[in-house]
């Protein structure tokens, strides 16, 4: 019988939640790296025992941890993320030039074919890659250097590269997103890049339709339809059906189109999930009632899913890397909150229950579906 392993990164360590395919009884292990921020953990699609984790702290900086036994034991690998050449400047909050400074790794995306190859999205925004299992990291400098890098400004949470999507049908094509520069695409494995933000409209920037400067919070893709991308932007939920060439808003009847996460059902490419959040400064569910919204039409028409979720006095947030789906026949959907709850739905969102309720604030959730 299949099982699932949920990798949870929190503000004070990592936790691993495991269950069989029923997803009713859970074992919780951790904290791993107690006291450290675990921005992201993710396993290799071709070797489930190989897991990478981004561990950081304000005291000791960045570490990358690697497990070769499914998270039972960990070893630190290289943590040197040095920008290629003379880094130059990006734009600071006040519009002045500011030197690029590495701060932390936000997201780790293992290769779809090679467990030793991993992409890392970092703050200040750049993309790095290892091809030796984390023993060394090298910047894919064409991203910062493609032309608009000097104009990128940080969002409230920093200038972070937080989303990396590899096209399963063409591994040379990769989509990434940066807060608050926007979305970008490479078709040559990361050598050259172009912004893909046409159709986005952001009223909070000087030119609402600018080529870069949009605060993209998350992008999602179904592996069977890599030309279709879904986006949760600072405001607006959008889709593209041409690999990011043009985006169309599909916020539809959402109660608020602000939020951070967006994900796609494992078996239904037009079924997508978001968690609407009240903005700009509050960042908690509307009226203190937590709900996931699901569209079975690829956007525009949304249904509220709140069975099992708190419907009073709930003021948590769901951060951009904190939603995931498993690959079981009855698709499981998972998300974690800044209040330390990790929720699971084993019926594609119809009903929810908490796996754990009292973890440190959840930064990321990933799921491995195991044979």
């Amino acid at each position: 019988m299949s099982s699932v392993r949920v990798l949870v990164g929190t503000k004070k360590g990592a936790f691993i939640l495991t269950s069989d395919g029923k997803r009713e009884k859970w074992d919780v292990s951790g904290p791993f790296f107690a006291g450290f921020e675990l921005y992201h953990l993710k396993g290799s699609p071709v070797d489930a025992n190989r897991i990478y984790a981004s561990q950081s702290s304000g005291w000791f900086g960045q570490l990358i941890q690697r497990s070769d036994d499914g998270g039972k034991t960990w070893e630190p690998v290289d943590n040197k993320f040095t920008y290629d050449g003379v880094p130059g400047t990006h734009m600071w909050y006040d519009g002045t030039p500011h030197p690029w400074e590495f701060k932390r790794v936000w997201h780790l995306e293992p290769s779809l074919t090679d467990p030793d190859t991993v992409y890392a999205g970092v703050e200040d925004a750049a993309m790095f890659r290892t091809t030796d299992g984390g023993k060394s990291w090298h910047e894919l400098a064409g991203l910062r250097g493609h032309g608009s890098g000097s104009q990128w400004q940080p969002g409230a949470g920093g200038l972070g590269l937080h989303t990396i999507l590899i096209d399963p049908s063409n591994h040379q094509r990769i989509f990434i997103a940066i807060s608050s520069a926007g979305a970008f695409r490479t078709v040559d494995g990361g050598v050259t890049w172009e912004p893909i933000n046409k159709g986005l409209s952001s009223q909070y920037i000087p030119d609402p339709a600018a080529e870069v400067g949009h605060c993209v919070h998350r992008i999602a893709m179904h592996k069977a339809r890599p030309n279709t991308l879904f986006m949760q932007k600072h405001w607006d939920v959008l889709r593209s059906d041409n690999g990011g060439d043009l985006w169309t808003e599909v916020s539809g009847n959402l109660p608020t189109d602000f939020g951070f996460v967006i994900d796609v059902h494992a078996h239904e490419p037009e079924t997508i999930y978001v968690v609407p959040i009240k903005s700009d400064s509050e960042h908690f569910p509307m009226d203190g009632k937590l709900a996931v919204y699901r569209s079975r039409t690829g956007g525009n028409e949304w249904e509220r899913l709140d069975k099992g979720l708190p419907q009073s006095d709930c003021y948590v947030n769901v951060l951009r890397d904190a939603m995931a789906v498993d690959l079981l026949d009855a698709c499981g959907v998972y998300f974690g909150t800044t209040g330390g709850q990790v929720y699971v739905s084993s019926d594609a969102g119809d009903s929810w229950r908490a796996i754990v309720r009292d973890l440190p604030g959840v930064l990321s959730v990933e799921v491995q579906t195991l044979p």
């Binding site: 005291w59 000791f60 900086g61 943590n79 040197k80 040095t82």
Partner: protein
């Protein structure tokens, strides 16, 4: 981070300074590179402090000799994460 239990004893060739001690420490435990000092600039990370013989050496020259008690192994050289917060 380095999975180190207890004190670390290091053999230093030549002058025993903060720099030579840190170099030797990072050589034995490469995973600590970047966590005490910046990878590129080798500057002390802001929330890390260095102490020896009841003295805060965090702002002392890295190439100054450490006290004899540290060089002889009688007293420890301490790398400490600062108590910070509120």
């Amino acid at each position: 981070m380095g999975k180190i239990a207890g004190e670390v004893h290091l053999e230093i060739e030549g002058a025993v300074t903060q720099r030579s001690v840190l170099d030797a420490l990072e050589s034995r435990y490469p995973m600590l590179r970047g966590t005490i000092r910046d990878h590129v600039t080798l500057q002390r990370r802001p929330f890390v402090r260095f102490f020896a013989c009841m003295e805060d050496l965090s702002h002392e020259p890295l190439d100054a000799l450490l006290p004899e008690a540290v060089a002889s192994g009688t007293e420890p050289y301490l790398v400490v994460g600062a108590v910070a917060g509120g």
